[in-house]
Symmetry: C2
Subunit: 452 residues, 2 copies
């Protein structure tokens, strides 16, 4: 059979914390206000204690609360699928599998962490969560999770997306969230931007600043982030943990894993449990983070301390970055337009423990359409980055005759992204050049951090 | 567990043909050209022999070809889910289950028959299929099915939907179909309409006429219909057959089954296998077809011979109808805006073997949103008709203390219908009055059919 299912009771009961297995400690996040490593108490202004503990924990396995498992079980375990039709069309000697996270109610892997975050906030007496969203996947996931635990949710949505992706906004409203186009006039950060530029289209950086500001000021309100941070990647490891069990069922194991990488939660989610086996010398797998050529954080960025947002409100983190004021071109995979990357993913890449690859928008859409027409699932443009890289590898295997086992994470479906497929089919999507000058410029503005 | 899965190998291998079990024969379809029962040869102009045989067959169980099973297995068996969160919120003493067909690649139950139709046409040497689509569910399903069997597909899409539902059009394009706004200038039927009214918004009736005309004229091209006909309902019985096995797994059985009903394929698909048990005196179930109050075919129509389309090209069928030139108000569940109903469903209703119920648009959306917020699935507005009726029954059970088992078919997801949720949340959706005068008017134009 090409679909490999786990039974509901086979869902992982613990998250895998890769922090416990790193060969050397990671550099700590630095407070933008004190210039010193961020303390537990500083983080308590916007995060609940459980999540801060997880952010810093060196415990290898962390229990998933029953209440979280119960909501995850609405769509988990997600299927692992052998892409037999795609293999046939490619005529490859490789085997291609994909883990399909688009079965979640919000259509992507994002609810895996949104549910956990909503739960921990709920049990800490928090009544409201704020967050930002660009393309809308994360905002949708958090809206859903908050509704499941009956807490309020306010989403600052980048203004240009608010208008361009009305269906994502509708989805969030349907699940009871309040969606505010950002920059707004209800925060200082927003008002500052509007004063400078009343017609601002907004950016993820501005939206983060607005959401963080509101959460910091209200005791009943916390902030939630959908990627980058350690606890977020931790919650996503259910993806890889399930995949390992599914490969056991068919007696196979991936030689190569491809996952699209913006902030790193999708990549970490599928790859870390396989890296666990590699780090302890068990089984070898090459995990490759796939990013857009127009926002090439890992492949063209630098490994330095940088801000997580434009307004410099978030901790300064050691990561691959293109500079916090780098503005990536408006590619159609909005979820991958981030200047930085998860500190853990950055660390692993810097140590040579994982690989990275950049792909162009046109090959991404070409791969996505080939995938849809053979496997009958419309992929999100973000996910199609992984598909493109996997297909490239499968074609290489065809040439060399290798019978490698390839796994990629199909992180979401593209039902809310049909407009970008239209643009591609109408010949209106072009590849952006590698924005060399812009990156050079923005890299001049990295913060000056001394760990002494 | 609230999700009840079947193993891939437990997929039904035969369709159930309810024609074999009807207490008396049905009145035959009449040719609009000869005034006599339609012959096998007349149908061959637009349908392949296997489908015509199925349309007229009295064989109770019909084998599903392996090639069809293989494609269906991309998403089947579909889950049966106990709506525990919804039950809790309602505080009902009833148990509520739903069969979820939105897991199909096109997002609804429609591919169950589209795949079979594409297959039979393919093995009969047909190179192209034409069809019509209104809301786009059927066009999406057929586009997908044609791509799976590598035949071309042309979809005449009602012009107003072509412009209002651009994502549905994109979906069809993505799967390689050609989408033509109807009325078009490439058929006589289309040109006739445009001559009378150059700004025509189109209608399902016009689009059917265009698709049928093209198929009748080209020997390499056939026509495919997504509902109403016997063979279409036959292919949908996999839904109910799976549900029966799933209820066996949990030792339960539905007292009441609710399914939205436009042409009848969703209703027939889930209900007929349960009716099989009832017709042979085994187990009793009350199956209720749920329709919009603004297009109340079963509850307010007449059981008479009528045309299937406005242009009077299709066979004249004995069915509940509001008159072939009745134009239903523009409700947001486009899939239920049809003047007639499946002849089998009509027959069963007329014999008192099934029930029918009409619900208003506002209660439909209210129910859909409650369902989404508890069960975390955004339902298609069509499916929400069944949800509304099921919720009404669950509330009734709460009052009486009855512990009935309720099943409804969640025929599709609503990711392409977010605009209508916005309209509802913005207070822009109103209930249409029962269009009594319009129906009275259109019922004057029924054809004069004599079976002598």
């Amino acid at each position: 059979m090409s679909k490999i299912y786990l039974k509901p009771e086979e869902m992982p009961k613990k998250w895998y914390n890769i922090l416990a297995d790193l060969p050397t400690p990671m550099d700590p996040p630095i407070s933008p206000f004190t210039g010193k490593p961020v303390t537990f108490d500083e983080m308590k202004a916007i995060f609940p204690p459980h999540l801060i503990e997880q952010e810093m924990s060196d415990k290898k396995w962390i229990d998933i609360p029953d209440e979280v498992l119960e909501v995850l079980s609405i769509w988990r375990p997600s299927p692992l699928i052998r892409a037999k039709r795609l293999e046939e069309v490619l005529g490859t000697t490789a085997k291609i599998y994909y883990k399909y996270e688009g079965v979640s109610p919000a259509g992507s892997h994002k609810p895996n962490t949104a549910v956990a975050q909503a739960y921990y906030n709920k049990i800490n007496g928090i009544k409201r969560l704020t967050t930002e969203t660009g393309a809308g996947q994360w905002g949708s996931a958090l809206s859903l999770a908050c509704k499941m635990f009956d807490i309020a949710c306010r989403v600052y949505m980048v203004k240009v997306s608010y208008h361009q992706k009305p269906y994502r906004k509708s989805f969030m409203r349907l699940f009871g969230a309040e969606v505010i186009p950002s920059p707004s006039d209800i925060t200082n950060a927003g008002r500052e931007v509007l004063k400078r530029n009343p017609n601002s289209n907004g950016s993820l950086g501005i939206a983060i600043s607005e959401a963080v500001e509101e959460a910091a000021q209200r005791s009943d309100t916390n902030y939630a982030l959908g990627s980058v941070l350690n606890h977020v990647l931790l919650h996503q490891t259910v993806i890889g943990l399930e995949a390992i069990k599914q490969f056991e069922l068919v007696g196979d194991y991936p030689d190569k894993i491809y996952a699209s990488c913006g902030g790193g939660s999708n990549f970490g989610g599928i790859a870390f449990p396989f890296l666990e086996k590699m780090l302890k010398g068990d089984k070898k797998t090459e995990a490759i983070a796939v990013e857009p050529a127009s926002c090439p954080t890992l492949t063209k960025g630098v490994f330095e301390y940088d801000y997580g947002d434009e307004a410099k409100l978030t901790p300064i983190m050691k990561m691959y970055t293109l500079g916090h004021d780098f503005e990536p071109p408006a590619i159609h995979a909005g979820g991958l337009r981030y200047h930085g990357d998860s500190p853990i993913v950055s660390y692993l890449y810097n140590k040579g423990l994982i690989g990275a690859e950049a792909v162009h928008q046109s090959e991404v859409f070409e791969a996505g359409i080939l995938f849809a027409q053979t496997e009958a699932i419309v992929p999100a443009p973000e996910s199609s980055h992984a598909i493109a890289a996997a297909i490239k590898e499968a074609k290489r295997c065809k040439e060399t005759g290798e019978s490698k086992t390839i796994l990629f994470c199909l992180s979401g479906h593209g039902f809310f992204d049909m407009g970008s497929y239209d643009a591609y089919l109408d010949g209106k999507l072009s590849d952006f050049e590698y924005p060399e000058e812009a990156i050079k410029e923005s890299l001049k503005n990295l913060p000056n951090v001394s760990l002494k």
